[in-house]
Structures are given as structure tokens and as C-alpha cells.
Symmetry: C2
Subunit: 126 residues, 2 copies
Amino acid sequence: MGNRQFTGAPEDADLTRADSLAREIFSDVANKWALLIIECLGDRTLRFSELRDGVAGISHKMLTQNLRMLERNGLVERTVHPTVPPRVEYVLTEPGRGLRATIDGMCAWTQRYLGHIEESRHRFDA
Amino acid sequence: MGNRQFTGAPEDADLTRADSLAREIFSDVANKWALLIIECLGDRTLRFSELRDGVAGISHKMLTQNLRMLERNGLVERTVHPTVPPRVEYVLTEPGRGLRATIDGMCAWTQRYLGHIEESRHRFDA
DNA sequence: CGGTATCCGGAGGGATACTG
DNA sequence: CAGTATCCCTCCGGATACCG
């Protein structure tokens, strides 16, 4: 896999539209909150407040903001139930579940190297 | 896989040390620049300046900062050749290569859903 | 060439209040 | 309950300059 679409400099005149789009999507998605939200959703259907409680220390604002972004990119589906009080539910779409699979990989990786990393930190800090 | 170590609230008294460490590592690693640097390195050995040219629009400062962080966590190995001018080289360690595999997954995912996402964006923006 | 230090503008993101 | 808007301040991160 040639990854110039991710690593290529944006000022490069040869950079195709697809390349810069890929980079844009990558930048949207490769951030802490987005990944944690997707991981928290998993294969469940959750309400806004359940997500707020479910994702560590995320603020109301960040949650809304990231959910909008994920919805815009078609990774989550938002369903509003016109009841009172309102009930809004979020689920991963198929692309969203695809991304989730790779995030699961990152989580597993973290678990696996937890010890390695902690050691390395101590060595480095000395 | 129980992911409470990632999604659990930090103020939760039951949160174990391992859980918060996992969260900390995840936060370090789940950021745009770190992921792009790792992806750019791949299985190559690159100099500082090669990385700066290789990673799209990254600044001197961000590159140094992220490389230090990755080195501290034991994901990259830094080798200084005591020549003049100095030559400093970076390679992924074994844990680093493990993480890289999952990032490859994210890149592949991006490529795969490029079309889906672009469409979704247009629909949303209307 | 690679790294550190300093400055500083602007985005990120929290707290709060208000609407439907 | 979910979402938007406003305020406000921190700190991210770019630009620049200077060391080894």
C-alpha cells in the first residue's frame, strides 16, 4: 500500500484530490475523542447521555461536536424519537463498524504492551 | 474485550492503575501526528529531516515533540551518530511495529470508504 | 543537521445559561 | 433530555532564533 496520500506534503502540486480527502478524513478520525466514542458505542445503540457517562471525562460540548462530525462522515447514525422529553439514539453504521474493528486492534495493542511501555517510560525518565 | 479501561470515567474510584495507564497511553498514541509519523516510518530507518519531509505539513516542533513521546513510550528507537554534522536515525521498535499494523488498518479503511464518506458529507451539508 | 528555547496568536475545549 | 450559544481562558502549535 502506497501511503503517499497520508504522508505526502499538501503543498505538493501532484497531490490528487483523493489524496487530500484521505488526509482530511484521517485527521477527522485520528483523534482521541472520536476513537473513544466509536469504541464506546461498539455494537450498541446508546443515547446521548449514556455516551456522556460512558466516555471518560468527555464534556457535553466535545461529545456533541464529535458526534456531529461522525454523523457527517457517515460513521454513526442519529435517530431522534419525537417524544417529550426527546430521546436521541446513536449507532455505528457499517463504515463505522469497520473503523471500530481497527480501533479494537489499537485497544488490544495497548493492553498487550502496557508493561513494556511502563518500563520504557521509567527508563526514559531516568 | 471489556473496554472499561478506555471508556471508564477517571473519577471512578474503582478505576485501577492499569486502567488509567491504558487510557494515558491511548491518549498519547491516538493523535494525528503520532499516527502519521509511525505510518511514515513503516519498516524504514529515517533521519529527522527525512521524517519532516515525509510527514505532510508537520512542523519542526511537533515532530521533535512527538518523536520524544514515542521514544519515551518505547515505540521508536533513536540512534545518534556522533559525526559532524550529526546524523540521527529513527526506527520502529517491535511494539511500534505492532501499533503500525493497526494504523495500516486505519489507512486501508480510509481508502475503502473514501467514496462513502464523501457522499455522506455532501448529503449532510445539504 | 538536529534539538532546545522563546514568543505569541488562535484554536481547543470547559462552564454556564437558555431553548424546544 | 438533547442541542445551541456565549464567554473565557488555557495551551497547542507555528515562527523564529540560537546552540552543539
